[in-house]
C-alpha cells in the first residue's frame, strides 16, 4: 500500500498541454479512477505516475518521497494495459511467476503466490495453457494476475477491460474490484466508461482538457456534480435553458424557452438571471394524457428504446424541446409512440447551473 501525490503537474507535447497543473492525492489502498473523454489527458497522467513520461513542471510523490527522477523500473509498479502484452512463448504459469523468479524470490514462495493469484482469477486449471489458447477475457485475467503477482504496492490499470466484449466486460467488472482489494494494493485506473468508474472506484477524478474538474466518491459525483460538464459526463442528464422569474424562501421559479415554468429549490440565482436547469433521465416523471398542474409540461412520445432492465423514452415537448426519460422496463411498457404525455420535474431533483460563458452546447461536448 502506498500513497500517491501529484502537485502542480504539467506535461506539454509541442504546443499542446496534455496535463495542465493538476493536483491529485490517492490514499493508501484506494481504488482510484481517472475518468474523462478521449484526449482529456488521462493516459498521460498515468504515464507520469508510472515514470514513462517526465513532467515539465510539478512533483510526484510516492509515500512522501519525490520520484520525479526515479526510473519506471525502480518505482515497483504493476501494470495492466488494454492490450494484454503477455509473453506468447510462455505458459500462463510462467507469465505470472516470471517477475518473481527474476527478482530471485524463493521458488517455494513463488509456487505458493502463483497458485494463490491464479485461483483468485479463476485460471489455476489453465496454468499450462499458452496465451493464444485462451480467450480474450482469460488473457486479460492473466495480465491482471501477472500484475498482482508482482506484489507491487501500486497497480496502474489503463482501460483494463475495454478490449473485451461488452457483456464480458460487465461480468469482469464485478470481479476486478474484489481481486484488487484483496491484495490491498493502491490502484489507479483510467477509463472513459462511467459505469466502470462508478462501480469499481472508491473515488473518481474527472479530467477535461488536461485539468481536474472534480474529485469525489461515486455517490457524491453522481448526486452533486459541480458543473454542467461533470453532470453530463457522469449522469444521464437533460439540460434546458431558462430565466429565473421569481426567488423566495422556498426556492425559485424558472421559465424555460417557449414558456413552461419549473419550480426548483435553488436560491443561489437572481431574478432575471440566465440559467441551465438539469434533471436526470430517471428523475423525470411522466404520465399518460394531459394532467393539469401548475408546473406540468405537455408533449408526445417520440421514441422508445428498450435497454433491458430499463426503457428510455424521448418526449417532444410542446415548446419544441426534447426530454429523455429512463424508467424501469415494467413501467416503461405502458407508453406507446405518439402518446400525449404530461411531464413533471420534481423540485428536489433539479439542479440549477449558471449559464456557461461559452454557451451550453460547448459544455456538452464530450470529445
Amino acid at each position: 500500500m502506498i500513497n500517491i501525490k501529484l502537485i502542480g503537474v504539467t506535461k506539454r507535447f509541442g504546443t499542446i498541454t496534455a496535463v495542465d497543473n493538476i493536483d491529485l492525492n490517492v490514499e493508501r489502498g484506494e481504488f482510484f479512477t481517472i475518468l474523462g473523454p478521449t484526449g482529456a489527458g488521462k493516459t498521460t497522467t498515468l504515464k507520469l505516475v508510472a515514470g514513462l513520461l517526465k513532467p515539465d513542471e510539478g512533483e510526484i510523490y510516492f509515500d512522501g518521497q519525490l520520484v520525479n527522477d526515479v526510473p519506471p523500473e525502480e518505482r515497483d509498479i504493476g501494470f495492466v494495459f488494454q492490450g494484454y502484452a503477455l509473453f506468447p512463448h510462455m505458459t500462463v504459469w510462467e507469465n505470472v511467476t516470471y517477475g518473481l523468479l527474476v527478482r530471485g524470490m524463493d521458488p517455494e514462495k513463488v509456487e505458493r503466490i502463483g497458485r494463490e493469484i491464479l485461483s483468485k482469477v479463476h485460471l489455476l486449471e489453465r496454468a499450462d495453457s499458452y496465451p493464444h489458447e485462451l480467450s480474450g477475457g482469460m488473457q486479460q485475467r492473466v495480465a491482471l494476475a501477472r500484475a498482482l503477482a508482482s506484489g507491487s504496492k501500486l497497480l496502474l490499470l489503463d482501460e483494463p477491460l475495454s478490449a473485451l466484449d461488452a457483456r464480458l466486460r460487465e461480468e469482469l467488472r464485478f470481479e476486478l474490484r474484489n481481486i484488487v482489494k484483496e491484495t490491498g494494493a493502491t490502484a489507479i485506473q483510467v477509463t472513459h466508461d462511467k459505469y466502470e468508474a462508478l462501480q469499481l472506484s472508491d473515488r473518481i477524478a474527472i479530467l477535461r482538457k488536461g485539468k481536474v474538474v472534480q474529485v469525489d466518491t461515486p455517490v457524491n459525483l453522481f448526486t452533486k456534480p459541480n458543473s454542467i460538464f461533470v453532470a453530463n459526463f457522469i449522469c444521464d442528464m437533460n439540460f434546458f435553458e431558462g430565466i429565473v422569474k421569481k426567488v423566495d424562501e422556498e426556492g425559485s421559479i424558472i421559465q424555460l424557452r417557449g414558456g413552461p415554468l419549473v419550480k426548483t429549490l435553488d436560491r443561489t440565482h437572481r431574478v432575471g438571471e440566465r440559467v441551465v436547469v438539469a434533471i436526470r433521465f430517471e428523475d423525470v416523471e411522466i404520465k399518460t394524457g394531459e394532467v393539469e398542474h401548475p408546473y406540468s409540461i405537455y408533449g408526445k412520445v417520440e421514441r422508445i428504446s428498450f435497454l433491458g432492465p430499463f426503457v428510455r423514452i424521448e418526449v417532444l415537448l410542446d415548446n419544441g424541446e426534447e426530454v429523455s426519460v429512463k424508467l424501469p422496463a415494467t413501467i416503461g411498457y405502458r407508453f406507446e409512440l405518439g402518446d400525449r404525455i404530461t411531464v413533471n420535474f420534481e423540485p428536489t431533483k433539479i439542479i440549477v447551473y449558471s449559464y456557461p460563458r461559452a454557451g451550453l452546447a460547448e459544455e456538452l461536448i464530450v470529445e
Partner: protein
C-alpha cells in the same frame, strides 16, 4: 427497400477447421433495422461480408430483393457499408468525401452540392464542410462516413460495429442517430455488434449468434423477457441462474426445489415432476426488503455481501440462507450496507425455467 434472405449459408476458414457460418438461415424484412449480436469470433462479421459480396459462401444462397446474388460482384450489389475503422479519404474534405459517390456517378456539380447539403442537415452535422478528416473528432468522422454511405443512394446498409471504436458517451448519442436515419430514409439496415444494450435499443429484431450458428431471432423485448435458451438469457444482460428439480406441476405452474431444499413457485406450465431444470431470474425483478412481507411469494432470507453503485440504481450481491448468491438491481433511494440482513422475494411471474443443459450449466454460461 430490399428484403434480404440467407438460405443454408456455410463458410469455413483455415482448411475447414474454423466454422464461421454453419447452415445459417435468416430473413430480413424490407425497411427493417436488423441486428446480428454475438461474442467475438461467433461469425457475425463473416455473415455481413457474405451479404456484401466481400466473402463468398462455401454453401448456400444469398437473396436481395428476391434475386439470387451469389455471383453478383460487390460493386453491382448497391450496398453501403460502414465499418468500425473509419475509412474516409484523408486528402478530401468533408464535402468531397460525402459527395464522392454522386461524383463518380457523374452527377453534375450543382445537383451534387444539393445532395450533400440535404444529408448534412439531416445528420445535423455542425461541421465546416471544408474540414479534413484528421481535423475531426472520431464521432464526427463516423458521422461523415455515414453521410457518405447515405449519399451513395443505396437502400441496403451494412453496419459492422460502426460505434465500437468511439468513446462510450459519443457511442450512446450516435446510437439513436443511426436508427433515426435508417428509419427516415426507409432503408434496410443490418447491424453487427457484440454490445447487447446497443442491439436492444436500436433494433426491430435481433439474431443471437454463437459459434457460427443462429441461436434465436426475435424482437428485443421477446428475447430479453422470454429467452428460449440459456445463452440468450445470459448474453442479453445480467441474469441469476441456479439448478433445481421440479417437485410439483399443475395447470397454474410448477414448484422447483433448489439448493438447501428451498422451494420456488413459478408460473411455468407443462414441466414434468422430477425434471432437472435451470431456474433464472433477472436482478431487477428480485425485491429486497428489511422486513418479512407476508404477501410476497418465494421469500428467502439473506445478507448483503457486496454492492456496486451505478448511479440511480445499485447492484447488490446477496447471499441467501441456502448458500446461493444472487445479484439484485435496486433503486438507490435506500442504500443497504454490507452485512445487512435482508429478505429477497422472487415473484413467480418473472421466474424462467430452462431444461438442464447436457454439457452442464457452466459451459452454457461461457460468454466467449
Amino acid at each position: 427497400m430490399p428484403d434480404v434472405k440467407l438460405v443454408n449459408i456455410s463458410k469455413r476458414y483455415g482448411k475447414g477447421r474454423i466454422i464461421a457460418a454453419d447452415k445459417v438461415n435468416l430473413e430480413i424484412k424490407n425497411g427493417e433495422y436488423f441486428t446480428i449480436l454475438g461474442p467475438s469470433g461467433c461469425g457475425k462479421s463473416t455473415l455481413l461480408k457474405i451479404i456484401a459480396g466481400i466473402v463468398k459462401p462455401d454453401e448456400g444462397e444469398v437473396y436481395v430483393g428476391g434475386k439470387l446474388i451469389n455471383d453478383v460482384p460487390i460493386e453491382e450489389r448497391r450496398i453501403a457499408m460502414v465499418f468500425q475503422n473509419i475509412l474516409l479519404f484523408p486528402h478530401m474534405n468533408v464535402e468531397e468525401n460525402i459527395g464522392y459517390a454522386p461524383r463518380v456517378k457523374g452527377i453534375e456539380r450543382e445537383r451534387r452540392a444539393k445532395i450533400v447539403e440535404e444529408i448534412v442537415s439531416m445528420l445535423k452535422l455542425t461541421l465546416r464542410s471544408t474540414a479534413f478528416p484528421d481535423e475531426l473528432s472520431r464521432g464526427a468522422q463516423q458521422k461523415v462516413s455515414l453521410a457518405r454511405a447515405i449519399a451513395s443512394e443505396t437502400n441496403l446498409f451494412l453496419l459492422d460495429e460502426p460505434l465500437s471504436a468511439l468513446d462510450s458517451r459519443v457511442r450512446l448519442e450516435l446510437r439513436y442517430e443511426l436508427r433515426r436515419l435508417v428509419k427516415e430514409l426507409g432503408v434496410t439496415a443490418i447491424h453487427v455488434t457484440h454490445d447487447q444494450e446497443e442491439a436492444m435499443s436500436i433494433s426491430d429484431r435481433i439474431a443471437i449468434m454463437k459459434h457460427g450458428k443462429i441461436i434465436e431471432v426475435g424482437s428485443p423485448v421477446e428475447l430479453y423477457l422470454g429467452p428460449r435458451t440459456i445463452f440468450t438469457a445470459h448474453f442479453l444482460g445480467k441474469m441469476n441462474f441456479t439448478e433445481g428439480v421440479v417437485i410439483e406441476s399443475s395447470g397454474g405452474g410448477c414448484v422447483v426445489e433448489v439448493s438447501g431444499g428451498v422451494r420456488i413457485r413459478t408460473k411455468v406450465r407443462g414441466r414434468l415432476v422430477r425434471e432437472r431444470v435451470v431456474l433464472a431470474i433477472r436482478p431487477e425483478f428480485i425485491k429486497l426488503s428489511q422486513t418479512m412481507n407476508e404477501n410476497e411469494k418465494n421469500v428467502i432470507e439473506g445478507k448483503i455481501i457486496e454492492k456496486f453503485y451505478t448511479g440511480s440504481y445499485i447492484y447488490y450481491k446477496v447471499k441467501l440462507e441456502n448458500g446461493i448468491e444472487v445479484f439484485t438491481l435496486t433503486e438507490a433511494e435506500k442504500i443497504y450496507k454490507d452485512g445487512d440482513k435482508i429478505y429477497a422475494s422472487f415473484p413467480p411471474e418473472y421466474v424462467i425455467l430452462f431444461k438442464y443443459p447436457e454439457e452442464g450449466l457452466e459451459k452454457e454460461l461461457s460468454l466467449e
